[in-house]
């Protein structure tokens, strides 16, 4: 399903990644358009986070290329990928705990897009507003709840004015009320900022409910890419999650 339309934000082309003898990703081809929220699911160890690490240039692919806004970003260093407009959140929240909420957002704003002064503080404040942390901006991050830190991470991503945000299991450790809040924030961000999201998630049901398009990764191979209905009825996907039907 490699689309060739001009309306394309991110494209992974024939990506392979090996660690020593272990082939973690095989011939991955992914294309994501503007304002799309795409779910990426798959069993443990399928290589989902590795894809994120490749897109953000934390790893280099063994083979293949990554294009963003039509430009090859495969060999850019990590901070430059961020400057191009790809932001990321982590499965284990990574915020700067010895700094305040506003300082964290400012780091995202100032260094994510190398903007300074009023513009940066404006973007940081706006991002905190969007995720609902504006009233806690002077709190030390170490004192925040997990849910708030997750929101802050998203705010830091938003403050860098990206066009694509990679979410790595944003629901992990959140209760259902917090998950509801998170989904609202993500939709709001897409609508207000015209953003795309690529979203890794373990909670398959939530992803199938929320995303219009879902991709499934199994043992380093992309086995399905389509609407939630197609995914739910795909025999390969069912096999990957439930094992082969015993005869």
């Amino acid at each position: 399903m490699v689309s060739t339309s001009k309306e394309e934000l991110l494209r992974l082309e024939g990506i392979y990644k090996r660690f020593g003898g272990l082939e973690v990703l095989q011939d991955i081809n992914i294309s994501i358009g503007p304002e799309e929220i795409v779910g990426l699911i798959g069993p443990n160890g399928a290589g989902k986070t590795t894809i994120f690490n490749l897109i953000t240039s934390f790893y280099r692919p063994t083979q293949g290329s990554i294009f963003f806004n039509g430009k090859n970003i495969t060999r850019l260093s990590a901070h430059k990928v961020c400057h191009r407009g790809i932001a990321r959140t982590f499965q284990l929240v990574r915020t700067f705990s010895k700094m305040t909420v506003m300082e964290n957002a400012m780091v995202g704003a100032v260094f994510g897009k190398t903007q300074i002064g009023m513009q940066a503080s404006h973007n940081a404040a706006e991002a905190l507003e969007l995720v609902g942390l504006a009233n806690k901006k002077d709190n030390l991050v170490a004192h925040l709840t997990l849910s708030d830190r997750r929101m802050l991470e998203i705010a830091m991503a938003l403050a860098s004015m990206p066009s694509l945000i990679l979410l790595d299991e944003p629901m992990a450790g959140l209760n259902s009320a917090e998950i509801g809040n998170l989904l609202k924030v993500i939709e709001k961000a897409r609508d207000e900022r015209k953003l795309s999201f690529l979203w890794i998630e373990h909670k398959v049901d939530e992803v199938l409910d929320f995303c219009k398009r879902v991709m499934v990764l199994d043992y380093g191979v992309l086995i399905a890419d389509g609407s939630p209905e197609e995914i739910a009825n795909n025999s390969k996907v069912i096999e990957a999650y439930l094992g082969e039907p015993s005869a």
Binding site: S77, A78, R88, F96, K98, G108, V110, F111, G112
Partner: protein, 297 residues
Amino acid sequence: MIAYLSFELIVQLVVNGILYGTIYGIAAIGLSLIFGTMRIIFLAQGTMIILFTYFGYWLLELAGIDPFVSLLIVVPLSMIIGVLLYRSLFKESAEMDDKNASLLLAVGIMFLVNNLMLVMWSANPRMANTAYTEVVFSPMGITIPFTRLIALGLAILSAGLLTLFLKKTYLGMAVRAASENMLYATLVGINPHRVNTVAFAIGIGLAGVAGIGVLQIVPFDPFFGFTFALKALIALALGGIGSVFGALMGGILLGLLESLGSFFVGGGWAEAVAFGAFLLVLMFRPEGLFVRSVKKA
């Protein structure tokens, strides 16, 4: 010796400890900053300090420039040297996961600079003398050498300026973020080379400040640097890595330990007392004495 013990003497020992300890403190702040972003103990820090002491010595002997005026030359120069050190030597190794390459580089620099100093200035201990080297204040029977008071002022001034830089500027914010987590800092768009360069510039710049501080306080020789680096390391462990205030306090505490230790236990034991305290702190409070440990939720 207990017979000589008087209130004035105790106060004098404490004052000596504090005044001398501030120099350790400046050295420790530099170590802390470089450790923050680079994750290595920059073992050459002490040797760099003594190198700048010799720079100050030369400026005084050859050009007649007053040591404290020479700060205006030595500090910018040391910052430039810091930048060049990073750009030329550490840039490649900083990108490696294995920090041993960077650490070995630091050790190599230490030996190189040490031996260069031997060639240029010989192993004879030196000390600078100016018109005011011998000037002392004597409030209430306590002797306070003017040069040590200046060193204390320099330490407080540089710690204050550095704290302002870290808290109030974007670049300072980036250094703090990178010190917490370099990988994540990189992923939010911070250029790792830029923050490392800043850490080196300020770290070696502080070595310049400490170097000039040493100039009129103690006799120095090229080998003095390594001991100094060890002392700075102890000060850092006492105070806690990652806090400017902690490093300064660690230095002062170490100065106090040495000053009181050499009086009560004997001069030869001063260092044993300092290292003993170092081990005890590592055993019972490895995060340092002056750092409020943040418990992870």
